[in-house]
Protein backbone atom coordinates (compact mmCIF):
# COMPACT_ATOMS: atom_id res chain seq x y z
CA UNK A 1 0.00 0.00 0.00
CA UNK A 2 2.81 2.38 0.98
CA UNK A 3 4.62 1.55 -2.27
CA UNK A 4 1.43 2.18 -4.22
CA UNK A 5 1.01 5.53 -2.48
CA UNK A 6 4.56 6.46 -3.44
CA UNK A 7 4.09 5.34 -7.04
CA UNK A 8 0.79 7.09 -7.61
CA UNK A 9 0.81 10.72 -6.55
CA UNK A 10 -2.54 11.92 -5.22
CA UNK A 11 -3.58 8.36 -4.37
CA UNK A 12 -6.52 9.76 -2.37
CA UNK A 13 -8.31 10.76 -5.59
CA UNK A 14 -8.64 7.13 -6.72
CA UNK A 15 -11.68 6.27 -4.54
CA UNK A 16 -13.43 9.40 -5.83
CA UNK A 17 -12.78 8.36 -9.44
CA UNK A 18 -14.09 4.85 -8.71
CA UNK A 19 -17.18 6.38 -7.08
CA UNK A 20 -17.83 8.61 -10.10
CA UNK A 21 -17.40 5.68 -12.54
CA UNK A 22 -19.84 3.58 -10.51
CA UNK A 23 -22.28 6.49 -10.41
CA UNK A 24 -22.08 6.98 -14.17
CA UNK A 25 -22.38 3.23 -14.82
CA UNK A 26 -25.35 2.61 -12.50
CA UNK A 27 -27.24 5.60 -13.93
CA UNK A 28 -26.48 4.58 -17.54
CA UNK A 29 -27.73 0.99 -17.15
CA UNK A 30 -30.93 2.37 -15.63
CA UNK A 31 -30.46 0.48 -12.36
CA UNK A 32 -32.49 3.04 -10.40
CA UNK A 33 -35.60 3.71 -12.47
CA UNK A 34 -34.04 5.87 -15.19
CA UNK A 35 -32.26 9.17 -15.63
CA UNK A 36 -35.15 11.07 -14.20
CA UNK A 37 -34.46 10.25 -10.55
CA UNK A 38 -30.81 9.39 -10.85
CA UNK A 39 -29.00 11.35 -13.56
CA UNK A 40 -25.54 10.16 -14.58
CA UNK A 41 -22.51 12.15 -13.48
CA UNK A 42 -21.86 13.41 -17.02
CA UNK A 43 -25.36 14.93 -17.11
CA UNK A 44 -24.73 16.69 -13.82
CA UNK A 45 -21.46 18.10 -15.18
CA UNK A 46 -23.21 19.32 -18.30
CA UNK A 47 -25.88 21.04 -16.21
CA UNK A 48 -23.19 22.53 -13.98
CA UNK A 49 -21.58 24.04 -17.10
CA UNK A 50 -24.93 25.35 -18.29
CA UNK A 51 -25.87 26.89 -14.91
CA UNK A 52 -22.44 28.48 -14.62
CA UNK A 53 -22.51 29.96 -18.11
CA UNK A 54 -25.99 31.42 -17.79
CA UNK A 55 -25.10 32.90 -14.35
CA UNK A 56 -27.85 31.20 -12.33
CA UNK A 57 -25.44 29.22 -10.16
CA UNK A 58 -22.99 32.13 -9.72
CA UNK A 59 -25.72 34.54 -8.76
CA UNK A 60 -27.28 32.25 -6.16
CA UNK A 61 -23.89 31.11 -4.87
CA UNK A 62 -22.67 34.68 -4.36
CA UNK A 63 -25.79 35.56 -2.40
CA UNK A 64 -25.31 32.58 -0.08
CA UNK A 65 -21.58 33.23 0.11
CA UNK A 66 -21.89 36.86 1.20
CA UNK A 67 -24.60 36.00 3.71
CA UNK A 68 -22.32 33.41 5.25
CA UNK A 69 -19.27 35.68 5.18
CA UNK A 70 -21.06 38.64 6.80
CA UNK A 71 -23.12 36.61 9.29
CA UNK A 72 -20.26 34.32 10.26
CA UNK A 73 -17.70 37.14 10.59
CA UNK A 74 -20.03 39.17 12.79
CA UNK A 75 -21.03 36.14 14.87
CA UNK A 76 -17.46 34.94 15.25
CA UNK A 77 -16.12 38.36 16.23
CA UNK A 78 -18.90 38.90 18.75
CA UNK A 79 -18.48 35.34 20.08
CA UNK A 80 -14.74 35.80 20.43
CA UNK A 81 -15.14 39.14 22.18
CA UNK A 82 -17.80 38.02 24.67
CA UNK A 83 -16.09 34.62 25.11
CA UNK A 84 -12.76 36.25 25.99
CA UNK A 85 -14.43 38.58 28.49
CA UNK A 86 -16.44 35.74 30.06
CA UNK A 87 -13.39 33.49 30.27
CA UNK A 88 -11.23 36.19 31.79
CA UNK A 89 -13.64 37.88 34.20
CA UNK A 90 -15.42 35.38 36.40
CA UNK A 91 -17.91 38.01 37.56
CA UNK A 92 -19.12 38.59 34.00
CA UNK A 93 -19.13 34.84 33.41
CA UNK A 94 -21.36 34.30 36.43
CA UNK A 95 -23.67 37.12 35.30
CA UNK A 96 -24.07 36.03 31.66
CA UNK A 97 -23.77 32.27 31.95
CA UNK A 98 -27.36 31.53 33.07
CA UNK A 99 -28.99 33.44 30.22
CA UNK A 100 -26.56 32.15 27.59
CA UNK A 101 -27.02 28.59 28.85
CA UNK A 102 -30.76 29.01 28.31
CA UNK A 103 -30.50 30.46 24.80
CA UNK A 104 -27.63 28.30 23.53
CA UNK A 105 -29.57 25.03 23.10
CA UNK A 106 -32.15 26.65 20.79
CA UNK A 107 -31.24 25.53 17.24
CA UNK A 108 -30.43 28.41 14.88
CA UNK A 109 -33.36 27.57 12.63
CA UNK A 110 -35.68 27.72 15.65
CA UNK A 111 -35.18 31.50 15.53
CA UNK A 112 -36.43 31.70 11.96
CA UNK A 113 -40.17 32.33 12.57
CA UNK A 114 -39.60 35.05 15.15
CA UNK A 115 -36.86 36.67 13.06
CA UNK A 116 -39.13 36.62 9.98
CA UNK A 117 -41.65 38.63 11.95
CA UNK A 118 -39.10 40.96 13.51
CA UNK A 119 -36.88 41.55 10.48
CA UNK A 120 -39.15 40.63 7.56
CA UNK A 121 -37.97 38.71 4.50
CA UNK A 122 -34.89 40.76 3.79
CA UNK A 123 -31.13 40.31 3.44
CA UNK A 124 -30.78 40.88 7.19
CA UNK A 125 -32.75 37.70 7.98
CA UNK A 126 -30.22 35.07 6.74
CA UNK A 127 -27.35 37.11 8.14
CA UNK A 128 -29.05 37.20 11.55
CA UNK A 129 -29.58 33.44 11.44
CA UNK A 130 -25.91 32.82 10.63
CA UNK A 131 -24.91 35.28 13.34
CA UNK A 132 -26.90 33.32 15.95
CA UNK A 133 -25.62 30.00 14.63
CA UNK A 134 -21.98 31.14 14.95
CA UNK A 135 -22.11 33.34 18.03
CA UNK A 136 -22.99 30.87 20.80
CA UNK A 137 -20.71 27.93 19.95
CA UNK A 138 -17.73 30.23 19.30
CA UNK A 139 -18.45 32.05 22.54
CA UNK A 140 -18.47 28.75 24.45
CA UNK A 141 -15.30 27.42 22.88
CA UNK A 142 -13.51 30.71 23.43
CA UNK A 143 -14.52 31.15 27.05
CA UNK A 144 -13.67 27.49 27.78
CA UNK A 145 -10.28 27.91 26.10
CA UNK A 146 -9.53 31.04 28.13
CA UNK A 147 -10.59 29.36 31.39
CA UNK A 148 -8.49 26.28 30.63
CA UNK A 149 -5.22 28.21 30.36
CA UNK A 150 -2.99 27.03 33.22
CA UNK A 151 -3.09 29.73 35.92
CA UNK A 152 0.61 29.22 36.52
CA UNK A 153 1.42 30.90 33.19
CA UNK A 154 -0.49 33.92 34.48
CA UNK A 155 1.47 33.78 37.74
CA UNK A 156 4.76 33.64 35.82
CA UNK A 157 3.78 36.56 33.58
CA UNK A 158 2.81 38.55 36.69
CA UNK A 159 6.16 37.78 38.29
CA UNK A 160 7.79 39.14 35.13
CA UNK A 161 5.87 42.37 35.61
CA UNK A 162 3.08 42.03 33.04
CA UNK A 163 -0.19 43.92 33.53
CA UNK A 164 -3.50 42.06 33.39
CA UNK A 165 -4.25 43.37 29.91
CA UNK A 166 -0.82 42.38 28.64
CA UNK A 167 -1.22 38.92 30.18
CA UNK A 168 -4.57 38.50 28.46
CA UNK A 169 -3.31 39.60 25.06
CA UNK A 170 0.16 38.07 25.04
CA UNK A 171 -0.32 34.88 27.06
CA UNK A 172 -3.90 33.83 27.67
CA UNK A 173 -5.47 34.40 24.24
CA UNK A 174 -2.59 32.76 22.33
CA UNK A 175 -2.69 29.75 24.65
CA UNK A 176 -6.46 29.50 24.14
CA UNK A 177 -6.08 29.50 20.35
CA UNK A 178 -6.36 25.71 19.86
CA UNK A 179 -9.79 25.78 21.55
CA UNK A 180 -10.85 28.92 19.71
CA UNK A 181 -9.94 27.37 16.36
CA UNK A 182 -11.90 24.22 17.18
CA UNK A 183 -15.00 26.43 17.49
CA UNK A 184 -14.24 28.38 14.33
CA UNK A 185 -13.61 25.22 12.28
CA UNK A 186 -16.82 23.53 13.34
CA UNK A 187 -19.01 26.59 13.01
CA UNK A 188 -17.69 27.73 9.64
CA UNK A 189 -19.06 24.51 8.13
CA UNK A 190 -22.20 24.74 10.22
CA UNK A 191 -22.87 28.26 8.88
CA UNK A 192 -23.17 26.81 5.36
CA UNK A 193 -25.50 24.04 6.49
CA UNK A 194 -27.73 26.56 8.25
CA UNK A 195 -27.84 29.10 5.42
CA UNK A 196 -28.93 26.41 2.95
CA UNK A 197 -31.67 25.29 5.32
CA UNK A 198 -32.81 28.87 5.95
CA UNK A 199 -32.90 29.65 2.22
CA UNK A 200 -34.89 26.50 1.57
CA UNK A 201 -37.51 27.48 4.10
CA UNK A 202 -37.83 31.24 4.04
CA UNK A 203 -35.56 33.12 1.69
CA UNK A 204 -36.23 33.23 -2.05
CA UNK A 205 -32.60 33.55 -3.22
CA UNK A 206 -29.38 31.62 -2.69
CA UNK A 207 -28.26 28.02 -3.13
CA UNK A 208 -30.96 26.69 -0.76
CA UNK A 209 -33.71 28.49 -2.68
CA UNK A 210 -32.27 27.17 -5.96
CA UNK A 211 -32.52 23.66 -4.53
CA UNK A 212 -36.17 24.16 -3.61
CA UNK A 213 -36.97 25.48 -7.10
CA UNK A 214 -35.16 22.50 -8.60
CA UNK A 215 -37.21 20.19 -6.38
CA UNK A 216 -40.48 21.65 -7.62
CA UNK A 217 -39.27 21.20 -11.21
CA UNK A 218 -38.03 17.70 -10.36
CA UNK A 219 -34.49 18.67 -11.49
CA UNK A 220 -32.39 16.21 -9.47
CA UNK A 221 -29.27 17.15 -11.43
CA UNK A 222 -29.51 20.75 -10.12
CA UNK A 223 -30.16 19.51 -6.57
CA UNK A 224 -27.03 17.39 -6.81
CA UNK A 225 -25.03 20.40 -8.06
CA UNK A 226 -26.25 22.46 -5.09
CA UNK A 227 -25.30 19.66 -2.69
CA UNK A 228 -21.84 19.47 -4.24
CA UNK A 229 -21.44 23.26 -3.88
CA UNK A 230 -22.51 22.95 -0.22
CA UNK A 231 -20.07 20.11 0.44
CA UNK A 232 -17.19 21.95 -1.25
CA UNK A 233 -17.86 25.19 0.65
CA UNK A 234 -18.09 23.43 4.04
CA UNK A 235 -14.85 21.65 3.24
CA UNK A 236 -13.06 24.83 2.06
CA UNK A 237 -14.17 26.90 5.05
CA UNK A 238 -13.08 24.23 7.50
CA UNK A 239 -9.79 23.86 5.63
CA UNK A 240 -9.24 27.62 5.75
CA UNK A 241 -9.50 27.66 9.53
CA UNK A 242 -7.38 24.52 9.78
CA UNK A 243 -4.74 26.38 7.75
CA UNK A 244 -4.94 29.38 10.10
CA UNK A 245 -4.78 27.09 13.12
CA UNK A 246 -1.64 25.43 11.79
CA UNK A 247 -0.11 28.78 10.97
CA UNK A 248 -0.65 30.13 14.48
CA UNK A 249 -0.31 27.07 16.70
CA UNK A 250 1.46 24.21 14.91
CA UNK A 251 4.94 25.35 15.91
CA UNK A 252 4.24 25.09 19.62
CA UNK A 253 1.06 23.15 20.38
Amino acid sequence: MKLLRKLIPGWGIVPIIIFLILWEGIARINLISGNFFFPPFSMVVAELYFLTVNGVLGNNFLRSFFRVIIGFSAGALAGLFVGIIMGWKSLIDRALNPIISLIYPIPALGWLPILMLWLGISEILPIAIIFICSFFPILYNTSTGIKMVDKNYIRVAKSLGASNRKILISIVVPLALPNIFTGLKLESGMAWRVIIAAEMVAIPTGIGALMMRAESLMRIDIIIICLIVLAVMCFLFERFFKFLENKFTARWS
Binding site: R155, S159, L160, P174, L177, R251, W252, S253
Partner: protein
Protein backbone atom coordinates in the same frame (compact mmCIF):
# COMPACT_ATOMS: atom_id res chain seq x y z
CA UNK B 1 21.35 44.07 46.72
CA UNK B 2 18.72 44.38 49.44
CA UNK B 3 18.39 42.83 52.87
CA UNK B 4 14.98 41.14 53.03
CA UNK B 5 13.03 41.21 56.26
CA UNK B 6 9.76 39.44 56.92
CA UNK B 7 7.90 40.81 59.94
CA UNK B 8 4.96 38.92 61.46
CA UNK B 9 4.01 37.39 58.14
CA UNK B 10 0.82 35.32 58.16
CA UNK B 11 -0.77 33.59 55.19
CA UNK B 12 -2.26 30.10 54.78
CA UNK B 13 -0.15 27.75 56.91
CA UNK B 14 2.41 30.47 57.80
CA UNK B 15 1.80 32.09 61.17
CA UNK B 16 3.71 35.15 62.38
CA UNK B 17 6.91 34.44 60.55
CA UNK B 18 9.88 36.70 61.23
CA UNK B 19 12.93 36.26 59.09
CA UNK B 20 15.91 38.31 57.96
CA UNK B 21 17.84 37.44 54.82
CA UNK B 22 21.13 39.24 54.36
CA UNK B 23 22.22 40.81 51.09
CA UNK B 24 24.09 38.70 48.55
CA UNK B 25 23.30 35.63 50.65
CA UNK B 26 22.17 32.30 49.24
CA UNK B 27 19.43 31.28 51.64
CA UNK B 28 17.71 27.93 51.37
CA UNK B 29 14.20 27.51 52.75
CA UNK B 30 14.17 23.84 53.66
CA UNK B 31 11.20 21.82 54.82
CA UNK B 32 8.71 19.12 53.93
CA UNK B 33 5.96 19.62 51.36
CA UNK B 34 3.18 21.90 52.62
CA UNK B 35 5.45 23.61 55.14
CA UNK B 36 4.76 27.07 53.68
CA UNK B 37 8.04 27.63 51.82
CA UNK B 38 6.51 28.54 48.45
CA UNK B 39 3.96 30.74 50.19
CA UNK B 40 6.81 32.78 51.68
CA UNK B 41 8.38 33.11 48.24
CA UNK B 42 5.10 34.32 46.75
CA UNK B 43 4.77 36.82 49.59
CA UNK B 44 8.25 38.21 48.97
CA UNK B 45 7.45 38.45 45.25
CA UNK B 46 4.16 40.20 46.01
CA UNK B 47 2.16 37.61 44.08
CA UNK B 48 -0.33 37.02 46.91
CA UNK B 49 -1.98 39.13 49.59
CA UNK B 50 -0.64 38.65 53.13
CA UNK B 51 -0.67 39.96 56.66
CA UNK B 52 2.49 41.49 58.10
CA UNK B 53 5.29 43.44 56.45
CA UNK B 54 7.96 42.71 53.89
CA UNK B 55 10.92 45.08 54.02
CA UNK B 56 13.67 45.50 51.44
CA UNK B 57 16.63 47.36 52.97
CA UNK B 58 14.38 48.53 55.79
CA UNK B 59 11.76 49.93 53.41
CA UNK B 60 8.27 48.43 53.52
CA UNK B 61 7.31 47.10 50.09
CA UNK B 62 3.85 45.81 51.01
CA UNK B 63 2.18 48.10 48.50
CA UNK B 64 4.72 47.55 45.74
CA UNK B 65 3.36 45.53 42.83
CA UNK B 66 5.47 42.63 41.52
CA UNK B 67 7.17 44.66 38.81
CA UNK B 68 8.43 47.24 41.32
CA UNK B 69 10.03 44.69 43.64
CA UNK B 70 12.95 43.93 41.30
CA UNK B 71 12.70 40.19 41.68
CA UNK B 72 13.45 37.30 39.38
CA UNK B 73 11.28 34.26 40.03
CA UNK B 74 12.01 30.74 38.85
CA UNK B 75 9.02 28.45 39.30
CA UNK B 76 9.00 24.76 40.12
CA UNK B 77 7.71 23.61 36.72
CA UNK B 78 9.39 26.52 34.94
CA UNK B 79 6.31 27.37 32.86
CA UNK B 80 8.13 28.63 29.80
CA UNK B 81 5.48 30.16 27.56
CA UNK B 82 4.91 27.38 25.02
CA UNK B 83 3.82 29.73 22.21
CA UNK B 84 6.96 31.87 22.39
CA UNK B 85 10.41 30.86 21.20
CA UNK B 86 13.46 31.07 23.44
CA UNK B 87 14.24 34.65 22.39
CA UNK B 88 10.70 35.86 23.06
CA UNK B 89 10.49 34.01 26.37
CA UNK B 90 13.65 35.70 27.61
CA UNK B 91 12.72 39.07 26.12
CA UNK B 92 9.18 39.00 27.55
CA UNK B 93 9.86 41.04 30.68
CA UNK B 94 11.99 43.52 28.73
CA UNK B 95 9.30 44.08 26.12
CA UNK B 96 6.79 44.76 28.89
CA UNK B 97 9.10 47.46 30.15
CA UNK B 98 9.17 48.91 26.63
CA UNK B 99 12.95 48.71 26.24
CA UNK B 100 14.08 49.47 22.71
CA UNK B 101 14.57 46.48 20.46
CA UNK B 102 18.33 46.97 20.15
CA UNK B 103 18.77 46.88 23.94
CA UNK B 104 16.47 43.86 24.23
CA UNK B 105 18.48 41.95 21.64
CA UNK B 106 21.73 42.90 23.38
CA UNK B 107 20.49 41.76 26.80
CA UNK B 108 19.03 38.51 25.47
CA UNK B 109 22.28 37.70 23.67
CA UNK B 110 24.23 38.44 26.84
CA UNK B 111 22.05 35.98 28.80
CA UNK B 112 22.18 33.35 26.08
CA UNK B 113 25.96 33.56 26.15
CA UNK B 114 26.14 33.50 29.94
CA UNK B 115 24.02 30.34 30.10
CA UNK B 116 25.58 28.83 26.96
CA UNK B 117 22.34 28.42 25.05
CA UNK B 118 23.04 30.63 22.02
CA UNK B 119 22.09 27.77 19.70
CA UNK B 120 18.54 27.62 21.08
CA UNK B 121 17.54 31.16 20.11
CA UNK B 122 14.63 30.23 17.83
CA UNK B 123 13.58 26.94 19.43
CA UNK B 124 10.21 26.52 21.08
CA UNK B 125 9.99 25.06 24.61
CA UNK B 126 8.60 21.75 23.35
CA UNK B 127 11.83 21.25 21.39
CA UNK B 128 14.06 21.67 24.46
CA UNK B 129 15.44 19.10 26.90
CA UNK B 130 14.85 19.44 30.65
CA UNK B 131 18.24 21.04 31.25
CA UNK B 132 17.85 23.46 28.34
CA UNK B 133 14.42 24.52 29.57
CA UNK B 134 15.99 25.14 32.94
CA UNK B 135 18.60 27.42 31.46
CA UNK B 136 16.06 29.35 29.41
CA UNK B 137 13.90 29.81 32.51
CA UNK B 138 16.93 31.07 34.47
CA UNK B 139 17.75 33.50 31.65
CA UNK B 140 14.14 34.71 31.61
CA UNK B 141 14.15 35.35 35.35
CA UNK B 142 17.44 37.27 35.11
CA UNK B 143 16.51 39.39 32.09
CA UNK B 144 15.58 42.52 34.00
CA UNK B 145 18.70 42.33 36.20
CA UNK B 146 16.75 41.69 39.39
CA UNK B 147 18.15 42.42 42.85
CA UNK B 148 16.52 39.35 44.36
CA UNK B 149 16.31 35.88 42.86
CA UNK B 150 13.56 33.56 44.10
CA UNK B 151 13.86 29.90 43.15
CA UNK B 152 10.99 27.52 43.91
CA UNK B 153 12.32 23.95 43.67
CA UNK B 154 13.60 24.68 40.17
CA UNK B 155 15.52 21.42 39.83
CA UNK B 156 12.79 19.03 40.89
CA UNK B 157 11.93 18.03 37.33
CA UNK B 158 15.50 17.57 36.10
CA UNK B 159 17.35 14.25 36.08
CA UNK B 160 19.93 13.59 38.78
CA UNK B 161 22.99 14.26 36.65
CA UNK B 162 21.73 17.52 35.16
CA UNK B 163 20.49 18.60 38.55
CA UNK B 164 23.96 18.18 40.04
CA UNK B 165 25.50 20.24 37.22
CA UNK B 166 22.84 22.94 37.33
CA UNK B 167 23.20 23.27 41.12
CA UNK B 168 26.85 24.17 40.68
CA UNK B 169 26.02 26.57 37.86
CA UNK B 170 23.28 28.29 39.80
CA UNK B 171 25.51 28.77 42.81
CA UNK B 172 28.30 30.15 40.65
CA UNK B 173 25.89 32.46 38.86
CA UNK B 174 24.58 33.78 42.15
CA UNK B 175 28.12 34.50 43.34
CA UNK B 176 29.02 36.27 40.10
CA UNK B 177 25.88 38.41 40.04
CA UNK B 178 25.86 38.93 43.82
CA UNK B 179 22.10 38.63 44.08
CA UNK B 180 20.23 38.00 47.31
CA UNK B 181 18.87 34.56 46.56
CA UNK B 182 16.20 32.47 48.22
CA UNK B 183 15.99 28.85 47.17
CA UNK B 184 13.08 26.64 48.21
CA UNK B 185 13.62 22.90 48.42
CA UNK B 186 12.81 19.80 50.41
CA UNK B 187 15.95 18.12 49.10
CA UNK B 188 18.65 17.93 51.76
CA UNK B 189 21.44 17.40 49.27
CA UNK B 190 20.51 20.56 47.36
CA UNK B 191 20.36 22.54 50.58
CA UNK B 192 23.70 21.23 51.80
CA UNK B 193 25.43 21.91 48.52
CA UNK B 194 24.13 25.39 47.82
CA UNK B 195 23.21 27.21 51.01
CA UNK B 196 25.08 29.96 52.78
CA UNK B 197 22.27 29.84 55.29
CA UNK B 198 19.46 27.33 55.79
CA UNK B 199 16.06 28.18 57.21
CA UNK B 200 14.19 25.05 58.26
CA UNK B 201 10.42 25.53 58.04
CA UNK B 202 7.79 23.10 59.19
CA UNK B 203 4.02 23.63 59.38
CA UNK B 204 4.39 27.35 58.68
CA UNK B 205 6.88 27.91 61.49
CA UNK B 206 10.59 28.69 61.31
CA UNK B 207 12.20 25.87 63.28
CA UNK B 208 15.87 26.68 62.90
CA UNK B 209 18.14 29.11 61.08
CA UNK B 210 21.83 28.41 60.65
CA UNK B 211 24.73 27.38 58.49
CA UNK B 212 24.86 23.98 56.84
CA UNK B 213 26.94 22.35 59.59
CA UNK B 214 24.80 23.81 62.33
CA UNK B 215 21.55 22.62 60.79
CA UNK B 216 22.75 19.16 59.87
CA UNK B 217 24.71 18.34 63.00
CA UNK B 218 23.08 20.43 65.72
CA UNK B 219 19.35 20.27 65.05
CA UNK B 220 17.59 22.29 67.74
CA UNK B 221 14.47 20.19 68.08
CA UNK B 222 12.73 16.97 67.12
CA UNK B 223 11.07 18.44 63.98
CA UNK B 224 14.38 19.53 62.47
CA UNK B 225 16.14 16.38 63.58
CA UNK B 226 13.42 14.17 62.07
CA UNK B 227 13.38 16.05 58.80
CA UNK B 228 17.15 16.21 58.44
CA UNK B 229 17.53 12.62 59.60
CA UNK B 230 19.05 12.72 63.09
CA UNK B 231 22.81 12.74 62.53
CA UNK B 232 24.99 10.04 64.06
CA UNK B 233 27.23 11.66 66.65
CA UNK B 234 29.98 9.47 68.08
CA UNK B 235 32.31 10.25 70.97
CA UNK B 236 35.99 9.78 70.13
CA UNK B 237 39.05 8.84 72.09
CA UNK B 238 42.71 8.15 71.26
CA UNK B 239 43.18 10.77 68.52
CA UNK B 240 46.16 9.87 66.33
CA UNK B 241 47.42 11.96 63.41
CA UNK B 242 48.30 9.68 60.47
CA UNK B 243 49.64 12.46 58.21
CA UNK B 244 48.49 13.19 54.66
CA UNK B 245 45.42 14.96 56.01
CA UNK B 246 43.94 12.04 57.87
CA UNK B 247 43.73 10.96 61.52
CA UNK B 248 42.55 7.92 63.40
CA UNK B 249 40.11 8.00 66.31
CA UNK B 250 38.46 5.34 68.39
CA UNK B 251 34.70 5.50 68.65
CA UNK B 252 33.06 2.94 70.91
CA UNK B 253 35.43 0.17 69.93
CA UNK B 254 35.65 1.16 66.25
CA UNK B 255 38.83 2.50 64.74
CA UNK B 256 37.63 5.27 62.38
CA UNK B 257 39.77 7.18 59.89
CA UNK B 258 38.67 10.82 59.70
CA UNK B 259 39.81 13.95 57.83
CA UNK B 260 42.45 15.60 59.99
CA UNK B 261 41.69 19.17 61.04
CA UNK B 262 44.94 19.58 62.96
CA UNK B 263 43.29 19.41 66.36
CA UNK B 264 42.20 16.73 68.78
CA UNK B 265 38.69 15.61 68.02
CA UNK B 266 36.13 14.76 70.70
CA UNK B 267 33.17 13.95 68.53
CA UNK B 268 32.53 13.03 64.95
CA UNK B 269 29.22 13.16 63.09
CA UNK B 270 27.82 11.69 59.91
CA UNK B 271 24.43 11.85 58.29
CA UNK B 272 22.37 8.64 57.94
CA UNK B 273 22.36 8.99 54.15
CA UNK B 274 26.17 9.07 54.13
CA UNK B 275 26.47 5.56 55.56
CA UNK B 276 26.86 2.99 52.81
CA UNK B 277 25.09 -0.33 53.51
CA UNK B 278 25.72 -3.65 51.79
CA UNK B 279 24.66 -7.25 52.30
CA UNK B 280 28.00 -8.46 50.93
CA UNK B 281 31.45 -7.64 52.30
CA UNK B 282 32.51 -4.52 50.36
CA UNK B 283 35.74 -4.81 48.37
CA UNK B 284 38.79 -2.62 49.10
CA UNK B 285 40.93 -2.00 52.20
CA UNK B 286 39.36 -2.60 55.58
CA UNK B 287 39.36 1.11 56.38
CA UNK B 288 36.09 2.45 57.87
CA UNK B 289 34.37 -0.81 56.93
CA UNK B 290 32.44 -2.42 59.75
CA UNK B 291 30.00 -5.19 60.37
CA UNK B 292 26.80 -4.46 62.26
CA UNK B 293 23.39 -5.89 62.90
CA UNK B 294 20.01 -4.37 62.15
CA UNK B 295 18.06 -3.65 65.31
CA UNK B 296 15.17 -1.73 63.76
CA UNK B 297 13.76 -0.81 60.33
CA UNK B 298 11.28 2.01 59.82
CA UNK B 299 10.14 4.19 56.97
CA UNK B 300 10.27 7.94 56.70
CA UNK B 301 8.49 10.10 54.07
CA UNK B 302 11.01 9.42 51.34
CA UNK B 303 13.44 6.79 52.66
CA UNK B 304 13.86 3.69 54.78
CA UNK B 305 15.90 4.11 57.95
CA UNK B 306 17.90 1.31 59.55
CA UNK B 307 19.01 1.34 63.16
CA UNK B 308 22.29 -0.57 63.40
CA UNK B 309 24.41 -1.84 66.26
CA UNK B 310 28.02 -1.43 65.21
CA UNK B 311 30.57 -2.17 67.94
CA UNK B 312 29.28 -0.36 71.01
CA UNK B 313 27.56 2.29 68.85
CA UNK B 314 24.02 2.65 67.61
CA UNK B 315 24.06 4.15 64.11
CA UNK B 316 21.24 5.33 61.90
CA UNK B 317 21.57 4.61 58.18
CA UNK B 318 19.26 5.59 55.36
CA UNK B 319 18.33 3.90 52.10
CA UNK B 320 16.11 5.04 49.24
CA UNK B 321 13.00 2.86 48.83
CA UNK B 322 14.08 1.38 45.50
CA UNK B 323 17.43 0.23 46.89
CA UNK B 324 15.85 -1.19 50.04
CA UNK B 325 13.39 -3.14 47.84
CA UNK B 326 16.30 -4.81 46.05
CA UNK B 327 17.93 -5.96 49.31
CA UNK B 328 16.72 -8.62 51.65
CA UNK B 329 17.02 -6.79 54.97
CA UNK B 330 15.29 -7.72 58.20
CA UNK B 331 15.75 -7.12 61.90
CA UNK B 332 18.61 -9.15 63.32
CA UNK B 333 20.39 -9.55 60.01
CA UNK B 334 24.09 -8.70 59.85
CA UNK B 335 25.17 -6.20 57.19
CA UNK B 336 28.33 -4.35 56.21
CA UNK B 337 28.69 -0.59 56.37
CA UNK B 338 31.22 1.94 55.11
CA UNK B 339 31.69 5.31 56.78
CA UNK B 340 32.68 7.55 53.87
CA UNK B 341 35.80 9.49 54.80
CA UNK B 342 34.85 12.83 53.25
CA UNK B 343 31.37 12.88 54.75
CA UNK B 344 32.56 12.53 58.34
CA UNK B 345 32.35 15.87 60.10
CA UNK B 346 34.57 16.63 63.06
CA UNK B 347 32.75 18.50 65.81
Amino acid sequence: MPIIELCNISKYVCKNINLKILNNEFTVLLGPNGAGKSTLLNIIAGLIEYQGSVLFDGKCVNHFPVNKRKIGYLFQDLYLFPHLDVFSNIAYSLEIRKKNSHKIRERVNELLEMLRIENLLHCYPKQLSGGEKQRVAIARSLATKPDILLLDEPLSSVDLQSSKYLRRELKQLQKELGMTTIYVTHNLMEAEEMADKIVVIDKGKVEQIGGVKEIFFSPVNKQVSEFIGAPNILKCSKYKNLGKGIAEVNCGGLSVIIPDEGRAINKIAMLPRDIYCSELRPPGPKVNRFKGSIIDIYSNIEVIRLELKVGENILLAELPYHIFARMNLKIGKEIFIILKLRTIKCL
